[in-house]
Amino acid sequence: MTDIDARLDRELKKGSAELIILSLLEARARHGYELSKLIDDRSKGQITFHIDSLYPLLYRLEERGWIAGTWVERAGERRRRFYKLTAEGRRVLTRQRKTWTTFVAAIAQLTGGEHA
């Protein structure tokens, strides 16, 4: 990967990280490791979140009230912190998803090559 590639990758990740997390939490509540694993698996290793980028992001989203984290205890297991989407988060997700789709379509149009 060239320098420019690496930078674009970083910027893209930065711009889409919130959307990714919110999307993954849409279906059900998940804990941090599960999220990082899911991202890694589903992107086939293209996008990875280490603890130093994932958790600050989770805390930031939580602070904004878009997601809510709670400690959940199950019999015979250690307690784990699960994050779920709040109503506000759901609204934000809808909005971001729309913006993203528009954005990607625009980029595709701009970068997909010109038609005669």
């Binding site: 804990h31 941090g32 603890i51 130093d52 958790y55 600050p56 805390y59 904004r64 912190r81």
Partner: protein
């Protein structure tokens, strides 16, 4: 399972998380690493390899700290603070929620204060210094000049005075009948009371102690609006008490004698005359008729306590709403009828006069101008300090506006931010006020211990920390805060977030108007500092010059011993004479005493100069009055003092009391032809036509109040000699009263008779209130002898109060007002200087910060650190030089106007100004040094990269 916390914890350090929060994060991240470790094991790695990999990942998570840092403040706030509009847990009670919100906002505010760093410290220092300066000046001015009387509705209190003819001196004394008749004028006066000032000698352990006392009619203290803090007040029934006299004493006296105020109640205080029964204790703040009075005895205007006095003094409270003009007119109209009804033979006109404390006394009048100037200066100082605070706040405003904008975007309401900003202001102001109050408390303590007694004796309002002044100043500081800070919140809430985030500090710093305002303020501060430092220097030099003024005689090791002798002691003439001789001979016997002689040393304290004395010269009465002092002296007196004879002869043993020696100024005043010897004069007491002589018996106010007058007309005095001049008053200050004229009479073997003319057997019936002085002037070979000499004098009669004071100290006290002015202006100029330096520092530090990029460019283009240092110092020097120029010009203008306040130093002398300019410039350089060094250390590469 490995423990990951040692690898994670370093990333969380210094984030200042609460312990619970930190534990939460640690647990969550550890679990993440556990899962990762397990996944690696499952993929076939060995335990050791998996652990190494995960640990390395954990350690390399260096962005964790940076990514969590911006969250830490709002996170804590979020955890506890519910933004307006959000729903809190329903079961939580409102009061708890409000308390939590307050606590959260306070925490926010505290963090805001902390994030200011050195600026917060400067703000606190500025507010503290300015407040301390103001409170100090107000405390002294309020007590000495503005508001000497603090009784409720003091404007209703008057003294009923009498004038025999228009323009003549008012007489405050009246008979009991007259008092009663005025009391009946109920349409004018709500109540009329009487008092006399006296001196009582308390006796304890065989020693007598002089205590200034007032004899008051029952109800007078209540009329003033006061009451005892402990015990009861004086009642009408107390006046018929025999044996002991019921009295109130001051809390201070009670503490001195009995440890605590209430401990004095019902105790008997022995005096050289009738004993006193303490029925009540007055609180510390009560003063009547002046601050020195510590005992108030009950008095019947017709009773024995008024014996020997030409009546009583009155104090009355007018009916509410009566104007002074109406009162004056009605009193004049009724004077005749009231006098007739009271059976007074003399014709007079009654006028309402000021009560004794309404005027702060002559010493204070001298410094009135100085205080008014200082109060003006103090207010100006407060304004500049507030401007400095504003300056510092504006400097960081853009940065804060961005922070506010982010918080607003996160859901905080403008009201919340406004409250937080106000809280920040409250925190800073409170710290400033606390620092200021502490400083002022220290300063007031220092000043009051140095204020000459003459200033405060007449003031009923003590010099203390005035809470009103403190509150007033704090309000001004807080208002400044609101004016400066709240607009930032409004700006942040109205501006577009993105635009704000894009803007940088320079746009605020380099706004032309902002820079101009900041520079103007700095120039003004420097100018004020120059003016005050010049004032302080001129006063200091005046005081030093006064201390070294030519006294007209050699004051080296010259001292005066003064005995205060109640008339009940040594009351037989022969006994007194023998006592005086014994004192002189015992003092002379002390090794190291070069000479000792009966008579008071100049400036005369034995028989204080009387003002308003009418004079009859060579049989002809003069129209105006004079300040005249006389001292009975031993013929050897002049040699001990070191005065030289200019005309005639010295006094000789066997001279009669009418043979006198006058000073040169006395001779010049009355016999301008230079032929004083052989001429005659007579003193007319009070400027009226009663040629008589004060008996030497005085009262508390140096004989001015309640002086006992003996009627026999004295024969005229004959001048036998004229001696060289000595300086008895402060020279060359226009506000000063005219010099007193002195003459000396030969001390006679028999002293003046006690006023009562009472035989020794009647001593027990004496009511106290009168005393005599015995003054002995001594010249020592060294000041160390003083203690031995005093002990020798005391050994003659241990019952008596003896004091000893060096003549130099007496002169120094005479210049007390100049010393006070010196101390206050000097102290004040130091404060002004500090404020100016803080201002210079703030402006320069900010200048350097805002020009960092420019400095970086200059350095990148080849400028050396030395060049940058010079650049910053030159910017500062321009401001300082303009400030010095303006300050010097204004100081010169003021000096022309206040030249009369200074002595022995020209207010226009260039030396003082050059010196001040150099000192201020040097101090300014020191204040600029740190910012200049910072500028010189700018790393061009880093600065430009960060841009």
């Amino acid at each position: 399972m490995p423990d990951w916390s040692p690898d994670l914890r370093p990333h969380l350090n210094s984030l200042r998380l609460t312990p619970e929060r930190e534990a939460d994060i640690l647990e969550e991240l550890s679990q993440h690493l556990d899962e990762r470790w397990r996944a690696l094991l499952a993929s076939g790695e060995s335990e050791a390899d998996a652990e190494r990999t995960v640990r390395s990942e954990a350690r390399s998570a260096t962005r964790l700290h940076g990514a969590l840092a911006p969250l830490r403040q709002s996170r804590a706030a979020h955890a506890q603070l519910e933004w307006p509009g959000s729903q809190g847990p329903s079961e939580e009670r409102l009061i708890v929620r409000i308390a939590r919100r307050c606590a959260a906002e306070l925490t926010w505010a505290w963090r805001g204060v902390r994030s200011r760093g050195w600026r917060a410290a400067l703000v606190v220092a500025l507010i503290g210094l300015a407040l301390a300066g103001n409170v100090l000046v107000f405390a002294v001015a309020d007590s000495v000049v503005f508001r000497p009387v603090t009784y409720p509705n003091a404007h209703e209190l008057v003294e009923i005075q009498r004038v025999r003819q228009p323009g003549a001196r008012a007489d405050g004394f009246m008979s009991a009948n007259l008092l009663d008749t005025w009391r009946q004028q109920t349409d004018l006066f709500a109540s009329v009371h009487a008092y006399l000032t006296k001196t009582v000698f308390l006796v304890a352990d065989g020693r007598s102690e002089l205590v200034t006392t007032a004899d008051v009619t029952p109800g007078l203290i209540e009329m003033l609006g006061a009451r005892p803090g402990w015990g009861r007040s004086l009642t009408a029934a107390d006046t018929s008490e025999t044996g002991t006299i019921p009295a109130l004493i001051s809390a201070r006296l009670a503490r001195e004698r009995y440890g605590r105020p209430e401990g004095a109640l019902n105790h008997i205080l022995e005096t050289t005359a009738q004993a006193l029964l303490v029925v009540g204790v007055m609180p510390d703040q009560f003063k009547f008729p002046s601050g020195t009075h510590a005992i108030w005895r009950v008095m019947d205007p017709r009773g024995p306590l008024t014996r020997n006095f030409a009546g009583v003094r009155s104090i009355a409270r007018t009916v509410p709403g009566l104007t002074t003009d109406v009162l004056t007119e009605r009193m004049a109209q009724r004077s005749g009828a009231v006098g007739q009804a009271a059976g007074a033979g003399e014709k007079y006109s009654a006028i309402p006069g000021l009560i004794p404390m309404a005027d702060a006394g002559p010493p204070a009048a001298k410094v009135r101008t100085m205080f008014l100037t200082l109060v003006g200066g103090a207010l100006f100082l407060l304004l500049t300090a507030c401007a400095n605070v504003a300056n510092l706040e504006v400097a960081g405003a853009m940065h804060r506006a961005r922070k506010f904008a982010v918080r607003l975007a996160l859901g905080a309401s403008p009201a919340t931010l406004g409250r937080v900003v106000l809280l920040e202001g409250a925190l800073l102001t409170t710290a400033g006020v606390a620092a200021g109050a502490g400083l002022a408390w220290l300063a007031v303590g220092v000043v009051t211990s140095y204020v000459p007694v003459g200033f405060t004796r007449f003031s009923v309002n003590p010099i203390d920390l005035d809470t009103r002044a403190l509150l007033y100043m704090a309000t001004i500081a807080m208002a400044t805060w609101c004016v400066v800070s709240l607009p930032t919140v409004l700006y942040a809430s109205s501006a577009h977030l993105l635009a704000l985030l894009k803007s940088d500090d320079r746009s605020a710093a380099q706004s032309r108007r902002g820079a101009f305002v900041r520079r103007t303020l700095t120039v003004l501060e420097v100018a004020i500092a120059v003016i005050l430092v010049v004032g302080g220097l001129l006063y200091t030099r005046s005081y030093l010059a006064l201390l070294h003024v030519d006294k007209g005689f050699d004051s080296t090791n010259l001292a005066e011993i003064a005995f205060a002798i109640p008339v009940e002691y040594h009351d037989q003439p022969a006994e007194f004479s023998q006592f005086a001789d014994e004192v002189v001979s015992r003092v002379r016997a002390v090794p190291g005493v070069l000479a000792a002689v009966q008579g008071s040393a100049p400036p005369s304290t034995g028989n204080s100069p009387f003002s308003g004395v009418g004079m009859e010269i060579d049989g002809r009465r003069l129209d105006r009055t004079f300040t005249v002092g006389d001292t009975p002296v031993d013929p050897a007196y002049f040699h001990v003092i070191g005065l030289t004879l200019r005309q005639g002869r010295w006094l000789e043993p066997g001279d009669v009391p009418t043979d006198v020696i006058v000073t040169e100024s006395f001779a010049r005043q009355f016999w301008p032809d230079g032929q004083a010897v052989g001429r005659t004069f007579r003193r007319l007491v009070g400027g009226n036509d009663l040629p008589s002589a004060p008996t030497g018996v005085g009262t508390a106010e140096g004989g001015k109040l309640g002086i006992v007058i003996t009627k026999p007309v004295v024969p005229p005095s004959v001048v036998v000699g004229v001696v060289s001049e000595f300086r008895s008053t402060r020279p060359a200050l226009s506000t000063d009263s005219p010099d007193a004229l002195y003459y000396y009479t030969p001390s006679q073997p028999t002293p003046p008779a006690p006023p009562s003319q009472a035989p020794a057997v009647a001593r027990a019936a004496s009511t106290g209130g009168s005393w005599r002085f015995l003054n002995v002037t001594v010249r020592l070979d060294s000041p160390e002898r003083a203690a031995r000499v005093l002990e020798a004098a005391r050994s003659v009669d241990r019952r008596l109060r003896v004091t000893m004071e060096s003549v130099d100290a007496m002169y120094a006290e005479m210049f007390g007002d100049v010393l006070l002015a010196t101390r206050i202006t000097t102290g004040f100029s130091v404060v002004a200087m500090l404020v100016a330096l803080v201002g210079i520092y703030g402006v320069m530090a900010y200048l350097v910060m805002s020009r960092r990029r420019e400095i970086g460019v200059r350095m990148a283009l080849g400028a050396r650190p030395g060049d940058i240092l010079r650049l910053v110092i030159a910017s500062s020097a321009r401001l300082v030089l303009v400030g010095i120029a303006i300050g010097t010009a204004v100081a010169l203008g003021l000096a022309r106007w206040t030249a009369s306040q200074f002595f022995g130093v020209s207010a226009m002398a260039p030396g003082s100004y050059v010196m001040v300019a150099l000192v201020v410039a040097a101090a300014a350089l020191v204040a600029t040094w740190h910012p200049a060094r910072q500028a010189a250390r700018v790393d061009p590469v880093r600065t430009l990269r960060s841009e």
